[in-house]
């Protein structure tokens, strides 16, 4: 009985059962197979390293520069916020709200929020369309995409605050921004938003003008 493929591979890798090793020692066919396995592995390992096409760094460089710029801006914004908070404390202002998005009049129904979340999901699915995801980007497109993705990530961070951390009016604002950014992302990737999403987008556009 000849060894199984697994046993032959184990023998080649030095982990064989002694019985298998003894068989291969006495069997010309199996010994030949062992040689072939070794040669195939050497053949795979001997394939040359490939050189990436020139110009690949250009896309990455633009994305890296945009990210560097964003980091710099965030550092400045954080430093400025810290300074303002420090000054406020020093002046004895008890409860300064540095970031106060929206007002009570912004409070809207949960139906609006649900519609925005649904539109957001729809756009996320649109981004998974293979023709959108699998193509080489230009440096400008890549940079635009990085900026949009960063902004979405910031919104997701805010939305991920513990329950009660985001007021409903503020949540609608955040989700509305998220839908807008996802829509821009779909377009940046060369796609078009579906009519349903466009309807939602125009609905929120109309709301924002009221």
């Amino acid at each position: 009985m000849h060894p199984t493929p697994d046993e032959m591979l184990a023998l080649r890798d030095g982990n064989a059962d002694p019985e298998v090793a003894a068989h291969v020692n006495d069997c010309g066919r199996c010994a030949g197979e062992l040689d072939r396995l070794r040669e195939l592995r050497e053949g795979l390992r001997g394939l040359p390293q490939l050189q990436p096409p020139s110009g690949g760094w250009d896309v990455i460089r633009v994305a890296a520069q945009r990210r560097q710029e964003l980091r710099r801006r965030r550092r400045w914004a954080a430093a400025a916020a810290a300074l303002v908070a420090g000054v406020a404390l020093w002046l004895g202002v008890g409860s300064l709200r540095v970031f106060q998005p929206g007002t009570d009049s912004d409070v809207v129904g949960s139906a609006d929020l649900d519609a925005l979340i649904a539109a957001s999901g729809q756009l996320e699915r649109a981004l998974q369309v293979p023709s959108l995801r699998t193509r080489v980007l230009t440096p400008q497109e890549a940079a635009q995409i990085v900026v949009i993705e960063d902004r979405i990530a910031l919104i997701d961070l805010r939305l991920a605050r513990p329950a009660g951390g985001v007021r409903s009016g503020h949540a609608v604002e955040l989700w509305s921004d998220r839908v807008e950014l996802l829509d821009a992302l779909v377009q940046a990737r060369g796609g078009t938003t579906s009519p349903a999403v466009n309807r939602n987008a125009s609905f929120y556009e109309e709301r924002s003008w009221q």
Partner: protein
């Protein structure tokens, strides 16, 4: 030093990292994907991810190993998005018949003209990934299983299957070459 600067988002350092590692990433991506075009897309996606995530690389392991994980995960995402296979590859698979490594009457040394690169691209994507990651990248079945979200036994069976196919193709190609050599020799002798 370069990595420390790259982690802080220094563009010059990131460029050094790109030039240092892009051939390895491109080779890995192309071998795993089976095409240059797909390899190029994965290379780009991998380094865009590096730009985004290098700050989270804590330097606890080798950067190369971290980068390899990022590359493989991008290849997996690429495969999920693009399930349709090139016609040439499908034809190779249809012609292929499963068999053990030792059930073929002809065995022995590999034909020197066997095009292993072409044969590799003809393997199904998961088999090709397992074969390359195990045999060339030196990953264990347990490591491959973690990456693919499968079991070590699955990885082992894919490796056996991959070798079974490569072996069969190499034998067939050897026969074709032998037949063509014999025909040529007969032709020369008959003149």
């Amino acid at each position: 030093m370069t990595l420390t600067r790259a982690r802080r988002g220094d563009v010059g350092a990131l460029e050094e990292v790109y030039h240092m590692y892009s051939p390895a990433v491109f080779t890995l991506a192309t071998r795993l994907c089976g095409s240059i075009d797909d390899g190029e897309e994965v290379l780009q996606e991998t380094f865009l991810e590096v730009v985004r995530r290098i700050g989270s690389f804590r330097g606890e392991g080798a950067f190369g190993a971290w980068l390899r994980r990022v590359t493989v995960s991008k290849v997996l995402m690429h495969h999920r998005r693009r399930r349709s296979r090139p016609r040439e590859v499908r034809e190779l698979e249809v012609a292929e018949v499963e068999g053990s490594l030792t059930d073929h009457p002809q065995s022995g040394r590999l034909d020197a003209r066997f095009d292993i690169e072409r044969a590799l691209t003809g393997l199904p994507e998961t088999t090709r990934m397992v074969l390359w990651l195990h045999e060339v990248e030196g990953m264990t079945h347990a490591e491959i299983a973690r990456l693919l979200g499968r079991t070590a036994s699955f990885s082992k069976s894919q490796l056996s299957r991959g070798y079974g196919r490569l072996k069969r193709w190499s034998v067939e190609e050897g026969r074709r070459n032998h037949a063509s050599d014999t025909g040529r020799n007969v032709g020369i002798a008959g003149r």
